[in-house]
């Protein structure tokens, strides 16, 4: 197992001293070179969990191991792509990607070569010397993906990376990620609330309950690979998986809605 989370519990204390249980007895595992998605209603703790795997937050109970090592701080072995734009605005595209190699011992020439390769992989050749402010949202996320991948992390964590993009751009980015992943086969843990996105990209999908977040269902996506992004949704198997997941998630969204659970600002 690449990532193994056992009995994760996390309670957030709000400012008014109320306590919110974000996660309870949450178990998850990701195999080597596996693409695993977590979907669930807003506020179910899926992003909090990803933060814990990254080492940016910690569980109150349970343990998270990556490659058998207990996670207790952030590290370059767990790359992360956020929903918001996180490029360093004072660095060009190439310099941003190269930033992902800061902690490696490679020769300068070796680094340049890797940077060029990954910029090509995300289709941004020709934009090496452009600053982030000159890029569209989709292009910025492509740079962020290249930057996270270039250091060859053991696992890539993606927290709704396309959530801020418009619908068309999102489709293009999903297609691109599918293509990149099928070439690189990096272990990925992907958080989203988009069911189609999860199915088309993943090998396995965890569906979470409304808060407190637990695993409601674990669904294997046995669509053959390599997948053709724009054809996948016409596959009858895709349709039945979509129906199954949407029904499961609807129950939870309704529960969350009835309970009036707004996402508290942690």
């Amino acid at each position: 197992m690449k990532v193994e989370a056992k009995n994760i519990g996390r309670v957030f204390k709000l400012r008014n001293k109320q306590e919110v249980t974000a996660l309870q007895d949450f178990n998850l595992s990701v195999g080597n070179n596996e693409f695993v998605s977590i979907i669930g209603p807003s506020g179910c703790g899926k992003s909090s969990f990803l933060q814990m795997v990254a080492g940016l937050d910690y569980p109150d109970r349970g343990s998270i191991r990556v490659d058998g090592n207990l996670v207790d701080s952030p590290g370059a072995d767990r790359g992360m792509v956020f929903q918001g734009y996180t490029l360093f605005p004072w660095l060009t595209v190439a310099e941003n990607v190269k930033f992902g190699l800061k902690k490696t011992q490679l020769q300068a020439a070796e680094k340049e070569k890797l940077v060029g390769n990954y910029i090509e992989l995300v289709g941004l050749t020709g934009f090496e010397n452009v600053y982030p402010r000159q890029l569209s949202g989709g292009m910025r996320q492509r740079v962020a993906i290249a930057r996270a991948l270039v250091g060859k992390p053991k696992v890539l964590l993606m927290d709704e990376p396309f959530g801020a993009l418009d619908a068309q751009t999102r489709l293009m980015m999903q297609a691109l990620l599918l293509e990149v992943w099928e070439r690189e086969r990096t272990t990925v843990l992907f958080v989203t609330h988009d069911v189609e996105e999860a199915i088309v990209l993943s090998d396995r999908v965890y569906l979470m309950t409304a808060r407190p977040g637990r695993v409601k269902a674990e669904v294997r996506i046995d669509l053959p690979r390599p997948r053709k992004f724009f054809e996948a949704e016409f596959n009858p198997k895709f349709q039945s998986l979509r129906k199954q997941l949407l029904e499961l998630i609807r129950e939870e969204v309704e529960l969350a809605f009835q309970a009036g659970l707004a996402t508290p600002n942690f």
Partner: protein, 281 residues
């Protein structure tokens, strides 16, 4: 649609009737009009000055004519007074501001980055920053005598305590996600501070430099209030004693002009230094 804010609609419905609109909320106007308005305002002001003094509405002792101020300007240049004054004042301002900035920069960065340092320094800084710098003049003479170091101290008191809080705020505006990303790329907190927080906060810090240096110019007269025998502020205080109104006005104008020039230098440098940033002020 008559009151629509959109030009396109107007164009479609009322061709040929579109007038340039100067008073729309937050709307750009032609740059020519923008500059002409500013210059025109100054011109009207000067014209008013010429008329009031030229027609003898006020006595020259209350408001001398622009010509008299010009004559005073030439006199001060010819006698070498102006160069000496400007040199002395520039030296004091630059030194006072540098001392303030060299201390405010590291302390402000620490306060903006670590809650501990914010908690440690903020109450005292908040307390001192409301104390009037003028009130420190007698004390500063008592402590440091009548030399330049007393002027540095007054400029420091006037600038530092605001500057340190502004730099703290500049550092705090660095997005949290930028810091988190850097951690996931393997950097430790000192590397994040050096390679991410600092460059990200730099345009804002630069703007703080610009604003605080401007304040130093306004504190110059306070710094040269007593115990000075050269400097632009001193010249104004001396002219007051002899009721040389034209010398006072000249001093004020020169301080204003030099302040404006230093401001423009910082703005110009920012445009060169931070080409990557979205927008400069």
């Amino acid at each position: 649609m008559q009151n629509s804010l959109l030009d396109q609609d107007d164009l479609k419905e009322q061709p040929g009737k579109r007038r340039p609109r100067l008073l729309e909320l937050h709307r750009d106007i032609p740059p020519g009009i923008y500059w002409a308005a500013g210059m025109g305002f100054i011109a009207i002001f000067l014209l008013g000055w010429v008329i009031i003094t030229g027609l003898g509405f006020v006595k020259p002792i209350f408001l001398p004519s622009p010509g008299a101020v010009g004559t005073e300007f030439i006199r001060q240049i010819q006698e070498g007074i102006l160069v000496k004054d400007v040199t002395a004042s520039l030296y004091r301002i630059m030194t006072g501001w540098m001392i303030s900035t060299l201390l405010a920069l590291p302390i402000g960065i620490l306060m903006g980055s670590f809650r501990f340092f914010e908690g440690l320094f903020e109450p005292s800084v908040d307390l001192v920053r409301y104390m009037p710098a003028v009130a420190f003049v007698p004390l500063s003479i008592l402590w440091l005598g009548v030399g330049d170091s007393q002027k540095f101290l007054i400029l420091f008191i006037g600038t530092f305590f605001q500057e340190v809080l502004m730099i703290m705020d500049n550092v705090k505006t660095v997005p949290k996600e930028l810091i988190q990303t850097s951690y996931t790329l393997g950097l430790n907190k000192w590397e994040v501070l050096k390679d991410v927080v600092l460059p990200a906060a730099l345009p804002g810090i630069w703007d703080t430099f610009r604003i605080t240096l401007g304040w130093c110019w306004t504190y110059l007269v306070v710094a040269e209030l007593v115990a000075a025998n050269v400097g632009l502020g001193y010249r104004i205080m001396r002219a007051q004693r002899f009721l040389q109104t034209e010398s006072i006005i000249l001093g004020i104008l020169i301080i204003g002009l030099l302040g404006l020039i230093s401001d423009m230098i910082f703005k110009f440098a920012a445009r060169r230094l931070f080409t990557w940033a979205d927008r400069q002020g």
